[in-house]
Symmetry: C2
Subunit: 237 residues, 2 copies
Amino acid sequence: MAEEKVGPRSRRERPAKAALSRAGIVATAVGLVQAEGLARVTMRRLAQELDTGAASLYVYVRNTDELHAAVLEELLGAVDLSPVTAKGDWRDRLERVLTSYAEVLFAYPGLAQSAMVARPSGEHYLKLIEALLALLDEGDVPKGQAGWGIDILLGFATASAAEHSAPDPRTKKTVAPGEEWAALANVIRNVSAESYPQLAAHGTDLLAGPGKARLAWGFRVLINGVLSTPLPEGEAK
Amino acid sequence: MAEEKVGPRSRRERPAKAALSRAGIVATAVGLVQAEGLARVTMRRLAQELDTGAASLYVYVRNTDELHAAVLEELLGAVDLSPVTAKGDWRDRLERVLTSYAEVLFAYPGLAQSAMVARPSGEHYLKLIEALLALLDEGDVPKGQAGWGIDILLGFATASAAEHSAPDPRTKKTVAPGEEWAALANVIRNVSAESYPQLAAHGTDLLAGPGKARLAWGFRVLINGVLSTPLPEGEAK
DNA sequence: ACCTGAACACCGTTCAAGT
DNA sequence: ACCTGAACACCGTTCAAGT
């Protein structure tokens, strides 16, 4: 009797090992960041998910940074740009787009931290910039100020998300999420009013958490500032 | 002839393996970040520098993050706080302190990136916050706005440094420093004016580098914004 | 108490060899 | 052209064992 052939179809645990492709790799990476956070999106872990070896991925992806940038660009598709064409005060609508951007970053552990560094250049990112510029233009913010302001607006949104989103569990962290925060709060509470009069007067209000209110206030600060601060001589356009 | 004894003093390559201490560990780490960048300040590399095993460091330092925070706190001692008591417009002096802070972060590869995440609570950090608060107070910025504003000011300075400082050469990078930037610039240059009218109009001015001018403008934007944007109802103090 | 070697469980990236 | 296993050069952290 001939042995039963053990063909490729006999193992059905995963969906029949599709051929590799950049799109498939990025899609799997996106699934992985949702399930385990960006820190787990490593070449080796991702290859394992794709039932191959890490080396195989280098045909489609230059390196880990590029992979992370691709994941970010993909997830940026979830930013709500509808306020651009909605009606109402341009400031409010600008705030809404920025808030949506921050929320997307906030939703995936480690994503905001990586957005601090990555500079995507995909369609979703371009559309986001285009949307912000359109709203600033609607508000008659001078072009030069708008252009320079984009960086500040996005940077603040990114940094806020990075600061308050789940820490990238790069390895199982020993330190509880808010331990550093607690340490600082404790120091401020017990600070000497003589050496640090300002700190003592403010107390832990200084660290009064993230909160929607604080993020929204930040956006307003930036919008007001960008609107009212002319570019230095010679740079104005 | 008796062989020459090879005692501990016969090897003078390093200064006679001092006893470990937290201060010594941090000092060595600071030296390492100066020489090789923060990415090289790993438990193993640092232990090697101290002529011991990585495990030994855990007596004095909780983990790698805490080590990096200690290095940051140490280097923050170089921030120039003298403008606080200098004379002149408070805005200019505030700008000078923030610029000095950004320059310190800028000077060490990887430091700014880590400052994005770390929350130090040492003396140098406290003095920096105290200085910023004192200057805002001098400018009669309402207390609540000043407190919330600190975060934005420091965050912007940190993010600017992170964005434009040497990339943390975590491992020998294959990607040239400005490669992602170049990719984005290229995309913007060739963007369709129909789909992206704003982007096409601005062109690569959007990415017009870091430059002192841009950082200074950013500080002015934030100061103006913080000064002129009241806290939301119920939060004002 | 402090220090250590060894172990465990990971990394990114390259390269020669196969199909 | 694409894919692979194996190798190289690293990581952080824990733990039992020593002093």
